[in-house]
Amino acid sequence: MVVQNNSRRSFLKVSAATGGGLMLGLSWLTSCESDKAKKANPELVMPAEWVTVNAFLKIGDNGVVTIMSPNPEIGQNVKTSMPMIVAEELDVDWRNVVVEQAGLDTENYTRQLAGGSQSIRHGWEPLRKTGAMARHLLVAAAAQQLEVDAGELRTENGVIYHDGSDRSLGYGEVASLAATLTPPEEVTLKDPADFRIIGHGKKNVDARKIVTGQPLYGLDVQRDGMLYAAIVHPPAFGMSLKSVDDSAVRGMAGIRDVVTIDARPEGLEPQWSDVNAFPKLVAVLGDNTWRVLNARKALKIEWERDSEPESSEGHRSALEALLNDGKAEEARRDGNPEAAFARAATVVERTYYAPFLPHNTMEPMNFYANVTADGAELEGPIQTPEFLRKTVSALLDMPEDKISIMMTRMGGGFGRRLYGNFGVEAALISKAAGAPVKLVYSREDDMTQGTYRPEYLVRYRAGLDEDGKLIAFHVRGTGANESPVFANRFPAGTVDNYLAENLSADTNISTGAWRAPRSNFIAGAEQSFLDEVAEAAGKDPIAFRLELFDRAKSDPVGEDNDYDAERYAGVLELVRDKANWNTGDDKRGVAAYYCHNSYVAQVLELEMKGSEPRVTEVHCAVDCGIVVNPEGALNQIEGGIIDGIGHALYGALTFTDGQPDQQNFDTYRLIRHSEAPTAIHTHFVENGIAPTGLGEPSLPPVIGALANAIYRASGERVYEQPYARPRQLKG
């Protein structure tokens, strides 16, 4: 495989290294269009230069290689899998690789973002080119040194061999010379058949630090002179800060300051990531997290109402009214749906609901900030560092190049840390107090100041003819701030008469992306509904879906169908075979879904324990193209399955007069060890296609598989999440 190197001059930055080795500064994710990159000098530059360039690959004289990992690590394992791709093409022994997290560096990296399961998909080719380019230069250097043609050399595990003369050189021995060479116009990538690292499970590069309790997370940041900060936000959505009397708090042991901040001043143009229902906050600063959390109770704060308080009952009736009578946006229409429904022999109509969900990352929101007149240093858990910096720059009136952001390993993200209000708050608190601070949310702060998964309501109708053929399909969905409907996804394209409609309900509850946005609801609804339609048609649920895919393969309806019917059907067939599906008489639940460019199908088995389902076994087939790191990939699939089961069974955030009714894990139920499936069997499709997302795709369909399994085990269809009624928990 040959890849044209369109940005050769920007590709490689070289600098001399200390200690005899050499640093090849590789701007591996540099955009071809970057002005800075176009001006980059490919010649040797001095060490001072590489210090300012964070995107680099370092080769030590002993052959040890340091690979920087540019993307935020939220548990999706990119800190292991992305460097694996570089190491593969570089052709080094993975055991000699050290991985370091890069900070925010928009001059040298693009898309330093964790979201949409896109890191591997977007990084795949640039990362391979980065490794291959470095390998090419090392081989060229060895050829000079050995005075042979480069074509006579081969590499293996960081060593360059000249078999003809039985000589060899380690990468570390030629790195200095390699750095002086001109990068080639094009670079040859490995044949995937020769991969030694990609496709071979590698363990989490941070695992040893994790199991020995080393500092890794934002909450672990500690600096000399740092104060801890806790915030107080309004008790309910629709309220804001009016005044604060902090006299009882000042003077308390360990308390240093009380400040108020405003993250939404007049004139600030919010970005998409500035979702924040409570921009005006009070912050207490002191020398210990517990002291500042505790001292907040002595503040006397007056709140004022600036919009109507909302409650769950009202939310639900508003969604129902909208769904029944609202004027919808028509997102897609094929054929003549109403005429088809009129002539249908059978019409099935069902409505599905899911509540608001908090993200509940195990590590609560937090951030370190040190704002001075000269600049701002930020460090913490953030999925979108570039956007955080923009907002902080605007609020501090400070140029972006004076603001540094270091990403820590994150104790979960699930979408919450796309919205960096906590980072903004830390910066404003640091500025107001004139001190370095670490802002820490209590669990209650975290759960009650969220960017929640919206509440959703969707109605499906399906029309079948006398032979049980699907002739009409209608989906009409609404939700808080957004509709959950994807108009061009399955079963669009498989039915002649199709209508998709969107409605959105206004709310003052802040909402945002939550692992597999919209899909995390609509997949379960759609796959439950299709199960019922298959039953009405008198067909096996897998056979029924495969018939639809046959139509999409042979004669698709419309041109905008955003899935590949072959791959979609492929995962369904694979899971059918691996789970030994008993066509026509299986007692398990099945579902399939496509999102984040990957295909997943599942067969789920459960038993009823009283009224509560307990999942015992899940079979899962996945088509995400090439699996970069099978070890991490399996973990992601398993995690998504357990996450989906847990939230569908137990998750719900409800509101009374604008106040969340659940504020901690005594009232908010998350899935526990004893409630997780005892076995998950994952099967990857091997097709050699470039890799796609894995952090999200296994979650959405499992909710459908769960609902369908509940029906087969209990005889009852479930339409409302959470499927298991919430109950009080004991700690």
Binding site: I74, G75, Q76, N77, K203, N204, D206, A207, I210, V211, T212, G213, P215, L216, Y217, L219, D220, Q222, Y228, A253, D287, N288, T289, W290, R291, L293, N294, T361, M362, E363, P364, R409, G411, G412, G413, V440, R443, E631, G632, N635, Q636, E638, G639, I641, I642, D643, G646, N664, F665, D666, L670, I671, R672, H673, S674, A676, T678, I680, L729, G731
Partner: protein, 153 residues
């Protein structure tokens, strides 16, 4: 404020604190041992699990005033070289995703195995269910506990 002395990972440490300050924040903010995590503050998630005189407890809900003179083991002190069977098993099964809850999970697992060297599936499930893993690594945790039990036998 009073002075308390506790033995942490084998070393005597003195701290000035209010008697109500939870052990968790003494460990993290006063002693700089940040391996023990904050998750909920009410003893409902297990992220803050440490051993107190050998038994697993939730350090977020235990005031320092009640543990004066006690011996505390945190994840940093579970073993000298990171080679406790539970730690080795966690590495072998590549358990962590985000990893944040895992210190608490391992402290619970180590405590379970010291009391019950060969727990069956039901016992593992029951005793590990006080520790939440938001990423959903439960099946791996379960397998790792079994592996650790085998290593210890």
């Amino acid at each position: 404020m009073a002075t308390y002395t506790i033995t942490v990972n084998g070393t005597a440490r003195s701290v000035e604190a209010e008697p109500e300050m939870p052990l968790l924040w003494v460990l993290r903010d006063e002693l700089g041992l940040v391996g023990t995590k904050y998750g909920c503050g009410i003893g409902a998630c297990g992220a803050c699990t440490v051993h107190l005189d050998g038994a697993a407890i939730r350090s977020c809900s235990l005031p320092i005033g009640q543990v004066d003179g006690a011996a505390v083991t945190t994840i940093e002190g579970l073993s000298e070289n990171g080679d406790h069977p539970v730690q080795l098993a966690w590495l072998e099964h590549d358990v962590p995703q985000c990893g944040y809850c895992q210190a608490g999970q391992m402290m619970s697992a180590a405590s379970l195995l010291s009391n019950s060297p060969s727990p069956d599936d039901a016992e593992i499930s029951a005793s590990m269910s006080g520790n939440i893993c938001r990423c959903g690594t439960y099946t791996r945790i379960h397998a790792a506990v079994k592996t650790a039990a085998n290593k210890m036998s």
